[in-house]
């Protein structure tokens, strides 16, 4: 739609200067453009179906009483799978653990990142560039590879199975990207606004807390949500670092749930998956609204 519209207007403006007959050929869309339009939409439909196919089981499986693995329209529909998993030990405690880990990590990361971003955004320092390049470099390192040495380190200092130690480690892994995002958001707040405060004798902390952070509130929200969503979905870190079932987040307990029974209750697994995924979907909705459409999000990664 937009394609034909912009082609039309472009032809219209250029046509005013150049030859009018050409305008008619470009302006009338039907005979030559229609096949491309149909093909493009068929291809997009195929993409949607292919991406939807593996997801369908979540919905159909969770709503069928007889734990089916296939997508079927017949059979008994019921909410029994949801009712079955909504017990404190199956669902609520793991979700609470997930929340504690993710929220703890998000808060700690955002505080540290906001503090670190201030001098990186505002001062000219000797190692500023080196530091920033190191930060960006660290965002690329595979965390999976660090997990074995992290476990060795935690075991040596006897801090495995500790929520606090896990949060500290998760924050360390989230920090590089959080500092980088935070610094970019902070660059968008003009220094001139702080100058008045400085002449009144305000220190860097007053200036950061009273002027800069309130002005970049959307940026703070984006970084917090981003870190929260990342940790909520993470499996490998808590899987390696937390051993007690009562401390494990939903990502790990759902795996235990899945692997420890002889016959897997697939309907319940699907119901659990949906309830565990919903908060993420909601937060992502907020995130993409805050960024004006989901697309600009990855665009920020270009640096």
């Amino acid at each position: 739609m937009t394609a034909t519209l912009s082609a039309g207007t472009a032809a219209g403006t250029s046509g005013a200067v150049a030859q009018p007959p050409r305008r008619r050929v470009l302006g009338i869309t039907s005979p030559r453009k229609l096949p491309t339009w149909v093909l493009a939409h068929l291809a997009l439909l195929l993409v949607v179906c292919a991406f939807l196919a593996p997801m369908l089981w979540l919905i159909f499986g969770s709503l069928h009483a007889d734990s089916a693995l296939t997508v079927q329209l017949g059979g008994r529909w019921s909410l029994s799978n949801f009712v079955a998993v909504m017990t404190p030990e199956t669902l609520w405690l793991p979700l609470l653990n997930s929340f504690l880990l993710s929220a703890g990590t998000a808060v700690l990361t955002v505080i540290c990142a906001a503090l670190a971003a201030y001098p990186l955004s505002r001062y000219s320092m000797r190692f500023r560039r080196t530091f920033l390049y190191t930060i960006v470099f660290s965002t690329g390192l595979p965390i999976t590879a660090v997990m074995v040495p992290v476990y060795v380190l935690f075991a040596t200092f006897a801090i495995t199975d500790s929520r606090i130690a896990t949060i500290l480690f998760m924050s360390a892994t989230s920090l590089p990207f959080a500092i980088w995002m935070m610094k970019n958001f902070m660059d968008g707040v003009p220094v001139s606004l702080e100058e008045a405060a400085w002449t009144d004798g305000a220190g860097w902390f007053d200036s950061l807390r009273g002027i800069v952070l309130p002005l970049m509130a959307p940026g703070l929200a984006v970084v917090s949500i981003f870190v929260f969503v990342q940790q909520w979905g993470d499996f490998f870190i808590p899987f390696v670092l937390l051993q007690s079932p009562e401390k494990q987040p939903a990502s790990v307990s759902i795996y235990t749930f899945f692997s420890s029974y002889g016959a897997v209750a697939y309907g319940q697994l699907a119901a659990f998956s949906i309830l565990y995924t919903l908060p993420i979907i909601a937060l992502y909705g907020v995130l993409s609204k805050a960024l004006g459409g989901g697309f600009s999000f990855a665009g920020g990664l270009k640096g």
């Binding site: 739609m1 937009t2 394609a3 493009a40 997009l44 949607v48 593996p54 997801m55 089981w57 693995l69 700690l108 990142a113 001098p119 955004s121 001062y123 000219s124 320092m125 500023r128 560039r129 920033l132 390049y133 470099f137 965002t139 690329g140 595979p142 965390i143 590879a145 660090v146 997990m147 074995v148 040495p149 060795v152 380190l153 360390a172 590089p176 500092i179 220094v191 100058e195 400085w198 002449t199 860097w204 950061l208 969503v229 909520w232 979905g233 993470d234 499996f235 990502s251 899945f258 697939y266 697994l269 998956s273 993420i280 979907i281 697309f295 600009s296 990855a298 665009g299 270009k302 640096g303």
Partner: protein, 308 residues
């Protein structure tokens, strides 16, 4: 100097007010302290520790647990002679090339191109589904594919009429994990490319089309060269992400059957946590880290910390 001159207002173009207040070097570094401590203790610490552990016989049980011995390069010479390790490296390369470089990258670019200039509703609907696969927790994505490819799953029930019914996770484990990872990761490439494509001035392509260039010709000669930088950046980032994939493979095949889909992260996990050989596992972790560091360094070439 030009960098500071052209920097936008708000960057550190030190105005007079700040300079004469001029916090000392130590005061400037103070806000960095909490982040630095966390990063040094919990990020750099394990990496440095791994360099030490990789040269020991550290294990989870037995003599190596309490009194790890320095054993020099033994872990590394064992690695070089270990066919299972080389097998895992080959699988990792196949997995990264297949699912990231070819799968996610090409499909992501294709979807971004198809979505360009489409109606807003079409764009929203397609990205909702594609991004949905990316946003959901990794373990849920893995379960979706486990159910989809199960002998009693949807795929078999759909292809049953064609006589293709089989246990996909056994007959085609590598293909299965590649497919699942393409499904999960394509959204990232799609978003990177959509952002890059939206930066292209429409006049450039319109001019080419007025000159009679065909669709493919325009794509190759105009569009792709214009987003070259995004393509390279994206390739580095998705390679790094795919190199670290553990959960999807662990849940789908567990590296099996018989090690048939055991990429290096899975082999590392098995050696360290199932065979309790932490020293050997760490040596492998170090190799993975070095490969990651190499790609991350290449990625750094496309990032600039100042020009914005």
């Amino acid at each position: 100097m030009t960098a500071t001159l052209t920097a936008p207002p708000g960057a550190r173009v030190a105005p007079g007010a700040r300079r004469h207040r001029g916090p000392s070097a130590a005061a400037k570094l103070l806000p960095l302290l909490p982040a630095m401590v966390l990063l040094l203790l919990f990020f750099a610490g394990p990496v440095i520790w791994s360099i030490y552990t990789a040269f020991t016989d550290q294990s989870l049980s037995g003599a190596g647990a309490s009194h790890a011995q320095f054993i020099g390069l033994a872990n590394f010479s064992r690695m070089v002679a270990d066919p299972a390790f080389w097998h895992s490296i080959v699988l990792t390369v196949i997995f990264v090339v297949g699912s990231a470089v070819i799968g996610q990258n090409t499909l992501g670019l294709l979807i971004a191109l198809l979505l360009r200039h489409r109606h807003r509703v079409t764009q929203a609907a397609v990205s909702l589904v594609v991004v949905g696969a990316w946003v959901m927790p990794e373990i849920v994505a893995a379960f979706c594919w486990y159910a989809f490819l199960n002998p009693d799953g949807s795929l078999n029930s759909w292809v049953g009429g064609l006589g293709l019914t089989q246990n996909w996770l056994y007959t085609a484990p590598v293909f299965a994990v590649i497919l699942a990872n393409v499904w999960r990761g394509t959204a990232f490439s799609m978003m990177v490319y959509s952002a890059a494509l939206s930066d292209i001035a429409p006049e450039l392509e319109e001019a080419a089309s007025v000159d009679g260039a065909s669709g493919w010709r325009r794509l190759w000669s105009i569009t792709v060269p214009l987003i070259r930088r995004s393509i390279l950046t994206n390739l580095m980032l998705i390679t790094l992400q795919t190199l670290a994939v553990f959960t999807v493979i662990y849940v789908l095949t567990g590296g099996g059957p018989g090690g048939a889909s055991q990429t290096t992260p899975l082999y590392m996990y098995e050696q360290a946590f199932q065979f309790y050989d932490l020293g050997y596992g760490t040596a492998m972790a170090l190799v993975l880290l070095l490969v990651g560091a190499l790609f991350s360094l290449i990625y750094l070439r496309f990032v600039s910390v100042d020009e914005r």
